[in-house]
């Protein structure tokens, strides 16, 4: 019973008084707004021949360390820039800048992932279009970043040998969408029981043909393969150079 007027319509459907609602068959992506911005980003990168990469992993897998190693070397031949996503602090961007390379921090505050609009807004202040490589370091998280297209051409998933070998099966979306999986901190393998074949079997279940690179920025194992891969991918973007 309505406590204001005493009528008995309180249990009736809110919409019974309007029995003919209009049905719209939309079949539209929930993330359409993000995807439209990502599409715009993608075209802007393509028009300016910038190879944009989205680097994703759990926290502590070595994304920033890999960029600290990579950017100074790549900058000898190319113009590179990094966008770094974290909830708080500018620590990681500062680490990249300390190597003499350009880096810009995106503070996501409460968000656990980057999205296309965050990248778009940062592009205006950070990129002039003459760059060859844009490395986007996503927020450390194996779940949420995989759902949001940023407009990147390539997705790189990192996993360190200190993480479980079955991570790909546990977090299949991120590893399934990866164009490259980089296994980091291989210098620690002598001290661990990490099973390489078990990891590769797990990965093949969710992404059968993805390329893998095992590397260590400490010993430089695998780093030349990583740099060669970057060079090869850049040539695919700018084939005449």
């Amino acid at each position: 019973m309505c406590q204001d007027c005493g009528c008995d319509t309180a249990n009736a459907s809110f919409f019974e008084s309007n029995p003919n609602p209009e049905t719209i068959h939309l079949s539209e992506s929930i993330l359409k707004r993000n995807d439209d911005i990502a599409h715009h980003n993608w075209h802007w990168f393509d028009d300016n021949k910038i190879l944009a990469m989205n680097i994703m992993s759990s926290p502590g897998s070595g994304k920033t360390s890999l960029l600290e190693y990579t950017l100074p070397l790549m900058n000898k031949e190319y113009e590179c820039v990094a966008l770094i996503g974290d909830q708080q602090t500018e620590n990681d961007a500062q680490r990249i800048k300390a190597t003499g390379c350009r880096a810009y921090q995106i503070s996501t505050h409460s968000s656990c992932h980057l999205d296309a609009s965050m990248v778009e807004k940062t592009l205006k202040d950070s990129i002039n279009g003459s760059e060859d490589f844009l490395f986007i370091e996503n927020v450390g998280n194996l779940v949420c970043p995989s759902a949001f297209d940023l407009g990147e051409r390539l997705r790189i998933a990192l996993i360190s040998v200190t993480e479980g070998e079955d991570k790909p099966e546990k977090y299949p979306v991120l590893f399934h969408k990866a164009d490259l999986v980089v296994i980091t901190k291989t210098d620690l393998m002598p001290y661990l029981d990490w099973d390489k074949e078990k990891f590769l079997n797990s990965l093949r279940k969710v992404n059968p043909k993805v390329k893998t690179i095992f590397l260590s920025t400490k010993t430089e194992e695998g780093t030349q393969e990583w740099l060669d891969w970057l060079n090869k991918k850049h040539k695919e973007v700018v084939p005449c150079v």
């Binding site: 992506s29 929930i30 707004r33 968000s111 059968p208």
Partner: protein
């Protein structure tokens, strides 16, 4: 939790559709959530409960349709419907698998007035 971002996107899209169609209230909303979309339905429900407050969705019936994975082997054409994202054919062990369904994240339809 990215489901909160997604909940806000759903609210924004429904508001935009109301403007386009010159309506004021959403009566019902049907969502299709693939098991490999990266979105957990229970988390989305939790996020939606908050996001729809004081919006045209707050009295709507929201239907969450889980879309299972539909995997087809490119070698033997076997089709498997499953929640497990294992891209290996159970029939012939091929790793050449097409994902026909299960990645959707859609606003399927809405009733408005």
């Amino acid at each position: 939790m990215h489901e909160l971002s997604i909940a806000h996107e759903i609210v924004a899209t429904t508001k935009a559709q109301l403007r386009i169609h010159n309506k004021t209230e959403i009566c019902s909303l049907d969502l299709k959530i693939g098991v490999m979309s990266g979105v957990v339905i229970e988390c989305l429900k939790f996020a939606m409960d908050d996001a729809i407050q004081e919006t045209p969705l707050q009295n709507a019936t929201i239907n969450y349709h889980k879309v299972l994975l539909r995997l087809q082997c490119q070698d033997c054409n076997e089709v498997r419907i499953t929640e497990d994202f294992i891209l290996v054919c159970e029939h012939c062990a091929s790793q050449r698998i097409n994902v026909l369904a299960g990645k959707e994240l859609l606003i399927d339809k809405m009733e408005m007035q």
